[in-house]
């Protein structure tokens, strides 16, 4: 529909309209919005008092306090601004394997869903693709829900490729980010747990509110295509491993993958990050709507 992934049905979009991004901290935006900002402004959220000075708006004088103290105080309120939302998609070669699992397509769908939720709420979105090949979206914020079509078309032309050092790539992106905000990182996180933790830790250190979404293929988890004597070739590094796969080996392989996933989940929980795991054999719409709270979204 309109160049968006097929999962974006009218019903799904209508459900997305009801969601809002909820951050654990307050971030300064660049324009009026719906998220409380650390700046003082004209929202209904009380912030502080200060002594009245000439020229202040009489409407904000606290008369009750004047009656008790015989002094004039002005009530201060928080500002409501838009939220700067950063969405990062891992487009390394590993996101393209196994081919039948559509890991990258799922990652794009998740990213667009996040983007739509943000744009629909009047927030600004910067979508960045790490690795891969094809025309990349520009490093700029987009505003307004209509821009989702443009983002969908751009992402549709990108193919996963190449080896990616996630930590280094994210560090590079952080240099160009001037303001903190909400970060969505979508990847398969198939790397040594400490590498993934380093990557996620970068955003944490930069005072970002991070949501990590791990995308694993359903067939990938089951070890599909790994039967009998196999020489497994790493899609990114080219490393080769010879093995004889049987049911027992496949079960152990699945165990090992889930163990890796568990380690990332534990890291996220310990460091106050949102984490969700999506396996591509599950229904995308159901997953997204059900895991909204895990993503840091709210109705």
């Amino acid at each position: 529909m309109l160049g968006l992934p097929e999962e974006f049905t009218a019903d799904f979009i209508a459900r997305l309209e009801q969601l809002r991004i909820k951050t654990r901290r307050e971030y300064a935006g660049v324009g009026k919005g719906t998220h409380l900002s650390p700046r003082r402004g004209s929202s209904l959220e009380f912030s502080d008092f200060r002594h009245y000075s000439e020229g202040d708006d009489f409407r904000y004088i606290d008369w009750g306090l004047y009656g008790r103290t015989d002094k004039l105080y002005i009530k201060l309120f928080k500002e409501e601004e838009d939220l700067l939302t950063y969405i990062f998609i891992d487009a390394s070669a590993s996101m393209g394997y196994p081919e039948g699992d559509r890991k990258f397509a799922s990652a794009i769908a998740i990213a667009l869903a996040f983007a739509y939720v943000a744009l629909a709420a009047g927030d600004r979105v910067m979508l960045r693709v790490l690795g891969g090949k094809g025309a990349m979206p520009p490093p700029a914020f987009v505003y307004g829900r209509h821009r989702i079509v443009e983002l969908g078309k751009t992402l549709a032309g990108i193919k996963p490729a190449g080896e990616l050092d996630l930590t280094a790539a994210l560090a590079q992106e952080l240099i160009s980010i001037r303001r903190a905000g909400k970060v969505f990182l979508i990847s398969d996180f198939l790397m040594m747990p400490n590498a993934a933790e380093r990557a996620l830790g970068l955003f944490n250190a930069a005072n970002m509110d991070v949501t990590a979404v791990q995308v694993l293929g359903g067939g990938e988890l089951d070890g599909q295509g790994l039967n009998g004597d196999v020489e497994a070739v790493d899609a990114e590094s080219g490393e080769r491993v010879r093995l004889s796969m049987g049911p027992r080996e496949r079960a152990r392989y699945r165990e090992a993958l889930l163990r890796l996933s568990r380690e990332i989940r534990v890291f996220c929980f310990r460091n106050g990050l949102h984490y969700a795991l999506y396996t591509t054999n599950a229904s995308f719409q159901d997953f997204f709507l059900r895991a909204a709270s895990e993503f840091g979204l709210a109705h």
Binding site: L190, S237, M245
Partner: protein
């Protein structure tokens, strides 16, 4: 089966095991090629990869380690075939004299044995390859370590050999040398000892003589006996020999349990022996005699004896009133066994030194010295005719006789008894009016005395004339109870009943079984210990003046071997299996280290 003249196999049939190698290689080459599959990441597969390597029966991987294992398997197959290398060399026999005279010092200050070992070591170092067998001569010739692989092993075996205090056996040594001389396989026979080989020395013999004449003084016999019959004091008698070319005064210092007991000396001409006596010695467990002056062979300058070696006189007392015999137990040096006439057996008689029959007669002529006291009439063995007398009177007795010496017959009050008639071979010593009262005679080398009165029970000082007469009778029958100075080194003992371990003079403990043979090769006092009681002591001395004579050593005559000319080099099989096994171990260790490092790097 041998190849190239220097390699061979003991079990060529085992080479069929090699057939498994091409089969394995074929299976390896024909195995299914693994399919390639691109995966997002091999991180989770690495763990499986390790597991697969540990799984038994997995297909061989395309890795050089497979060929390394194939090589190890080939080595194992070859090792089962028993490969050997043939080395040429003449077997050598080394006969090293380790008898007591080899402990004598040479003018260079070393013992003869040390000099001989050094000379043999040098001779072996100059010899070529080939097996070697080392023989020692004392106490009996024997090979040590079997056939040793080479001269180096023989030299190592020699380094552990040591001399013993026992003399050699010249006859056995001559027989060994003659046997070696007749062995045509031997290329060389090295004999190192103090005995020269009589000419003509057989071919292939290399004689290393360490036989410089050494002036020597020696203690030969060292015996202890009782001072007199029934006395507690002991008497030592030593034979000392001057085995030097000049007359000498030989002094012997005697110690008892470490305390000096006295010193005696004797003049001895060159090549002569003398006797030295030590009377009335105080009781001690161990006596040690030391001869002066010192000389180059100190072993025979000392001798040992034990107080317990003075053997008690075993008396069998057969009587209807055995209590009479018990009265003899108070006499030192007597061991009395009392039996009634119906109880005693020929074995009892054979086990005793003196048999006494009181009011009884033996069933046959005893083969020990015997005293008959008032035998019953009608005895068929001695056929004594006796006439009982209510009051016995002594008419005459010989003034000089071992039986009557010191007895005051006038005070001898004999109430009742019997007179003997004339006997064919027992002569009357003491007579009365009715006939002989004390008869004595010798038959078959044994002494027999018949008394017509009863001297028992033995009352000691309570009846001195009768006690003196009793002691005279027993002394005549038993002697003084002398015993030789103990045992000689190299002699085999039968371990006495009840003995469980033997402690050597050096303090080494050996567990033994009663009835087994034990050879004492060191001079000194041995302790024979059992489960209970104090250990028995046994003195062992060289005590052989023939061995001590280091100036006149008779040569050994060896009959020349008729086949000696056929001797020459022989081939020796050197097994190669140990090297193959070592190579297999090396390959396994190398592969293990490689795999370990690779996995560690991968982790």
């Amino acid at each position: 089966m041998s190849w190239f003249g220097w390699l061979g196999l003991l079990s060529p049939g085992a080479l069929w095991a090699f057939a498994i190698l091409p089969a394995l290689l074929g299976a390896y080459l024909a195995r299914e090629r693994p399919r390639q599959a691109t995966v997002s990441n091999v991180l989770a597969l690495r763990a499986l990869h390790v597991m697969r390597g540990q799984r038994f029966g997995g297909r061989p991987r395309l890795a050089w380690t497979f060929f390394l294992e194939l090589l190890a398997l080939a080595f194992a197959a070859l090792a089962t075939a028993g490969p050997y290398a043939l080395t040429r060399g003449a077997p050598i026999a080394v006969v090293l004299d380790n008898s007591a005279p080899m402990e004598a010092l040479t003018p260079a200050g070393k013992t003869r044995f040390e000099a001989a070992v050094a000379a043999v070591d040098e001779a072996l170092g100059a010899s070529g390859a080939g097996t070697a067998t080392v023989y020692l001569t004392a106490p009996q010739p024997r090979a040590i370590g079997g056939a040793l692989d080479d001269a180096g092993a023989a030299r190592a075996a020699l380094a552990h050999a040591h001399p013993v205090d026992a003399p050699d056996d010249p006859a056995a040594l001559a027989a060994l040398l003659g046997q070696l001389s007749a062995d045509r396989r031997l290329g060389r026979i090295i004999y190192a000892g103090y005995r020269p080989i009589a000419a003509p020395v057989p071919a292939r013999f290399q004689q290393i003589a360490v036989a410089d004449p050494i002036p020597n003084y020696a203690i030969g016999r060292f015996t202890l006996s009782r001072e007199t019959f029934g006395a507690a004091a002991l008497h030592a008698s030593l034979t000392v020999a001057n085995l030097s070319p000049a007359p000498a005064t030989l002094k012997v210092a005697l110690e008892g349990d470490g305390r000096p007991l006295g010193t005696e000396q004797a003049e001895a001409a060159a090549g002569a022996a003398a006797t030295i006596e030590f009377p009335r010695l105080a009781a001690a467990k161990v006596y040690r005699a030391e001869l002066a002056p010192a000389d180059g062979f100190m072993l025979d300058n000392a001798a040992y004896a034990t107080g317990s070696s003075v053997k008690p006189v075993a008396i069998l007392f057969v009587s209807p009133t055995p209590a009479d015999g018990a009265s003899l137990a108070g006499i030192p040096g007597l061991a009395v066994t009392a039996r009634t006439p119906g109880q005693y057996t020929p074995r009892d008689v054979a086990a005793c030194d003196v048999a006494i029959f009181e009011y009884a007669a033996p069933k046959e002529l005893p083969q020990v010295n015997t005293l008959l006291v008032m035998p019953p009439p009608g005895d068929p063995v001695f056929a004594l005719s006796a006439a009982a007398a209510p009051q016995v009177e002594i008419a005459n007795w010989p003034p000089v006789n071992p039986l009557t010496g010191g007895v005051n017959f006038r005070l001898l009050n004999i109430r009742s008894g019997e007179y003997f008639g004339v006997h064919p071979w027992l002569d009357p010593i003491v007579n009365g009016p009715g006939g002989g009262l004390l008869l004595s005679g010798v038959r078959g080398g044994h002494r027999y005395i018949a008394a017509g009165f009863n001297p028992f029970p033995y009352l000691g000082r309570g009846n001195l004339p009768m006690s003196i007469l009793t002691l005279n009778l027993l002394s005549d029958l038993a002697g003084l109870g002398a015993h030789s100075g103990g045992y000689r080194t190299g002699e085999a003992w039968i371990v006495p009943a009840g003995v469980e371990r033997i402690v050597t003079p050096a303090g080494d403990r050996a567990s033994v079984t009663a009835g087994a043979l034990y050879i004492a090769v060191a001079q000194g006092v041995y302790q024979l210990a059992g489960a209970a009681g104090a250990p028995a002591l046994r003195a062992v001395n060289l005590s052989d003046l023939g061995v001590s004579d280091l100036q006149n050593v008779p040569p050994i005559a060896i009959a020349p071997a008729p086949l000696a000319a056929a001797a020459g080099e022989s081939t020796v099989r050197q097994p190669l299996a140990p090297y193959l096994l070592a190579a297999i171990l090396g390959l396994i260790v190398f592969e293990s280290l490689f795999v370990y490092r690779r996995r560690r790097a991968a982790a």
